[in-house]
Symmetry: C2
Subunit: 114 residues, 2 copies
DNA sequence: TCTATTATATAGACAATCGATATATCAGGA
DNA sequence: TCCTGATATATCGATTGTCTATATAATAGA
């Protein structure tokens, strides 16, 4: 099922930081990996990701390393989490859990609370 | 914990429709009820809700009934779900579950999938 | 030759939320 | 009495996040 784009809003940063938790990745790879891990639910667009990566870099949450491989058409920019980025990831993960729990509570809690 | 505003984006319509599932409500009441049901996680702003309600009405998902009670300072606009609105609610609820499951999968799935 | 894939980048359009402001009444404290 | 806060709805402009479209450039395959 294709989900409403607007649902994605706000969680994209979390998802991108999460991808970098286990090691560096380049942008195009992130799009593919995110699609794979989410069973095609998330099909992040290039026009969304690249500006976001630049923002994350400016904020000091990731660092970039350009690798102009001879085999690739265009040099890849590998991104890695900084310590600050790890902190942000932890915080955004906690925020997500709070948010998701609250939505679930509204959806299931219905009329009666203790 | 106060969550990032942008996380709310896209789920607001779902939450509002859900509130109306059990009967009609007016705007101000929805703000309070949503805050209560979510344990203060959702503090929907008036500037967000009222334009949204007008949109929902235009789309035919809710109907409005104005009640100028003698005891209230200003007449209340009571909103109720239409049949189309119920359909939308069901669809948005399904979308939410798909989306939330995908985020959880990315957060927990990590590197290894079967 | 032409198209698709890999790989990054930017500009402009669009949607959703917010803060600020407006209006109007009533209750309660200083 | 005056002033603040709560009740109740409404609109405007700013900000943010995502998208589509476009650009560039090399390589593989039909």
């Amino acid at each position: 099922m294709a989900i409403d784009n607007s649902l994605l809003s706000g969680s994209t940063t979390l998802l991108v930081l999460k991808l970098l938790e286990d090691g560096e990745m380049y942008g195009y790879q992130m799009i593919e990996e995110l699609r794979r891990r989410s069973d095609r639910t998330f099909e992040l667009k290039a026009g969304t990701l690249y500006p976001l990566l630049h923002t994350l870099e400016q904020q000091g949450w990731v660092t970039a390393r350009e690798q102009s491989g001879s085999d690739t058409a265009r040099p890849r920019r590998y991104y890695a989490l900084t310590e600050a980025g790890r902190g942000q990831l932890a915080q955004k993960e906690a925020e997500w859990r709070t948010y998701a729990a609250a939505v679930t509570q509204v959806l299931e809690g219905g009329a009666c609370l203790a």
